[in-house]
């Protein structure tokens, strides 16, 4: 075809028929599908890796004992397989972490999105995102060697917290989660359309009223998603609790001043411990892993739903 002529009109109609093959396009598609299937394979792999030993475990331990028992002592002579102590410790740590992270994270987000001038925000927002990338082993170190001595020194009564305790792990985890919650909540507040703020200001609202009565409610699903993400990070976090959280699991510990094993800490410890691989005690790791997988699955479902709602509002 030369550059100088336009398509001959009469022949043009039939020329539209599919003539050309496009091998690149079809090859590419196969490649893309293959890549996308890797993530499916990953999930299947996880399920397989967890399922077989877990099934073996539950052939010897009743599921009822597992989910209702209040003592977890697979490594002792008197074995008990009630997973609740691990779950309770996980919840306690998560609770402490959220108590710290939610107000600090939300407050920071509100300040950045509604009060800080654009230049401050431009500097601070990237710093927050930067801090969200600090490896968790660092927080574990800091918890054990920096926060813990402080806590011991300043503890008002004689009966201070244990050397490894859930409080200190929770605090470190809370500090760790703040940037995540701040950053995501700020994103969702920034996504609240300007027009809503203007509408509120035009009705003689003060800045605080705009923030608390319009922006925060409008950004609520994003904020909830941020908090849920914080929860799932706390539940799945391993290094901090392994380093600073303790290993007690013979009873349900709800006092954050004591140390106790979370689900993740238990898994990490047994994985590097001296008990024979393949034994029932060892398989308990997989049962706990499977439970952890299910819990995060549920949290994800909540979070995905929240994010979706948050997207729907203004798009």
């Amino acid at each position: 075809m030369s550059t100088s002529t336009s398509n001959a009109g009469s022949a043009a109609g039939s020329a539209l028929r599919r003539g050309r093959r496009r091998p690149v396009d079809s090859t590419v598609k196969v490649l893309l599908v293959a890549a996308a299937l890797v993530s499916v394979a990953t999930t299947i792999g996880i399920v397989i890796a967890l399922a077989q030993p877990t099934v073996g475990f539950f052939q010897q331990v009743s599921i009822v004992e597992f989910v209702t028992g209040t003592s977890w002592t697979p490594t002792f002579a008197q074995k008990a397989y009630g997973v609740l102590p691990l779950v309770a410790a996980t919840l306690t740590v998560t609770g402490v972490a959220l108590t710290i992270a939610v107000p600090l994270g939300l407050g920071s987000a509100i300040y950045l999105s509604e009060y800080a001038n654009p230049r401050t925000r431009k500097v601070l927002k990237p710093i927050i995102e930067l801090l969200a990338g600090v490896p968790t082993v660092v927080y574990g170190f800091v918890a054990l060697f920096a926060l813990n001595p402080l806590l011991q020194r300043w503890w008002p009564t004689d009966n201070g917290p244990a050397f490894q305790n859930l409080l200190i792990a929770g605090i470190a985890m809370g500090i760790m989660i703040v940037p995540t919650i701040a950053s995501i909540s700020e994103d969702s507040m920034a996504a609240v359309p300007r027009s809503l703020r203007e509408g509120a200001y035009a009705l003689a609202s003060t800045k605080m009223q705009v923030s608390t009565r319009v922006v925060v409610p409008a950004a609520m699903s994003g904020i909830v998603a941020a908090v849920v993400l914080g929860i799932s990070r706390a539940v799945g976090e391993t290094m901090i609790v392994t380093i600073a959280g303790g290993l007690t699991s013979d009873r349900i510990v709800l006092n954050p001043l004591e140390g106790a094993a979370t689900m993740t800490a238990f898994i990490a410890n047994i994985s590097s411990g001296d008990i024979p691989v393949g034994s029932l005690d060892y398989d308990s790791v997989f049962a706990v892993g499977a439970l952890l997988f299910l819990i995060t699955f549920a949290l994800n479902a909540v979070s995905i739903r929240m994010v979706r709602r948050f997207r729907e509002v203004y798009e």
């Binding site: 003592s71 002592t73 490594t75 002792f76 002579a77 008197q78 054990l144 011991q152 244990a162 050397f163 490894q164 392994t242 380093i243 303790g246 290993l247 007690t248 013979d250 009873r251 140390g259 410890n269 047994i270 994985s271 590097s272 411990g273 001296d274 008990i275 024979p276 691989v277 393949g278 034994s279 005690d281 060892y282």
Partner: protein, 293 residues
């Protein structure tokens, strides 16, 4: 820097994979560090997957040497047999499990095995020092110990309470040595136990108790442990080496080196050295292994 007679003087290469107990690891790490000075071409790695994890790999042929803080168990022997792995158990050091209390503890110097048992036995209700001995003051007893998945725990419970893993459960257990050290050091009524090394490293913060195993109070020390008078808490530490591994020149050379320098290594790792008798057994076992290979 050191004179390594006997070993192959030529340049060796290849890998030596050691894995297993974190209690024994300091010995193997020290050996690896010394060995690197004479054979820099051999890559020795020391993993700490625990005694169990170590044996699992060992019996699958994934590692050459397994560090163990307890003897191999029946299930593990079966696994090795099933995979056709032949091996020898070598005792490379002694350890004295040390019972420690806070420096502030001015009432207790020695505990009998029975007293230890009252404290540590399953379902023990002892929560105050005066329940251990009426002459002790009214001071809350806080207990610390190693991770319950460790060989140390197994050994201590076996010797004191008569069954591996039989222990009260309501104490602070941790894989982290710092926890026992800091916990006991910071709690007036604290009591804990762990390997002698950790006590030596923290002797400024802790006080070791003597143990009366029936023939009077004996304090834990290199001497008492080596002389076997610190009973019942002195224990051997093991290294397992497989036939197949010894067929590899660099592994054989490394193990040979390990045995020759065993005193330096044990000293460096702050464990209790072998007696002469133990040393000759060690050499004999190794020779047998080489011969078999």
């Amino acid at each position: 820097s050191s004179n390594n007679e006997g070993a192959n003087d030529g340049e060796l290469s290849g890998e030596v994979k050691v894995n297993g107990s974190s209690t024994v690891a300091p010995l193997s790490e020290a050996a690896a560090t010394f060995y690197r000075e004479v054979q820099s071409g051999v890559n020795v790695s020391v993993g700490t997957s625990g005694t169990g994890g170590g044996f699992e790999r060992f019996c699958k042929g994934e590692t050459d040497i397994s560090d163990a803080s307890r003897p191999i168990k029946e299930s593990e022997i079966e696994a090795c047999e099933a995979a056709g792995i032949q091996y020898k158990e070598l005792v490379v050091a002694n350890d004295a499990l040390t019972v420690v209390v806070s420096k502030d503890n001015d009432w207790a110097d020695c505990l009998t095995v029975d007293q230890l048992k009252t404290i540590w036995e399953p379902n023990s209700k002892v929560v105050n020092w005066n329940q251990v001995d009426p002459s002790f003051p009214d001071e809350p007893l806080k207990l610390f110990g190693p991770g319950t998945d460790s060989g140390t725990f197994d050994y201590f419970t076996d010797e004191i309470n008569g069954e591996e893993g039989a222990s009260r459960t309501d104490y602070t257990a941790s894989e982290n040595d710092n926890v026992v050290v800091q916990g006991v050091a910071g709690t007036k009524g604290g009591l804990g136990y762990f390997g002698f090394t950790y006590f030596e490293e923290n002797a400024d913060k802790l006080k070791a108790l003597k143990v009366d195993g029936g023939s009077g109070c004996v304090e834990p020390s290199l001497k008492t442990a080596q002389e076997n008078t610190y009973q019942p808490l002195s224990r051997p530490l093991f290294v397992y080496v497989s036939d197949a591994a010894v067929k590899k020149e660099q592994v054989a050379d490394f193990v040979n080196f390990y045995i020759e320098r065993i005193d330096d290594i044990v000293l460096e790792a702050k464990y209790v050295p072998l007696t002469e008798e133990q040393k000759s057994t060690l050499q004999a076992e190794f020779d047998a292994l080489k011969a078999a290979a």
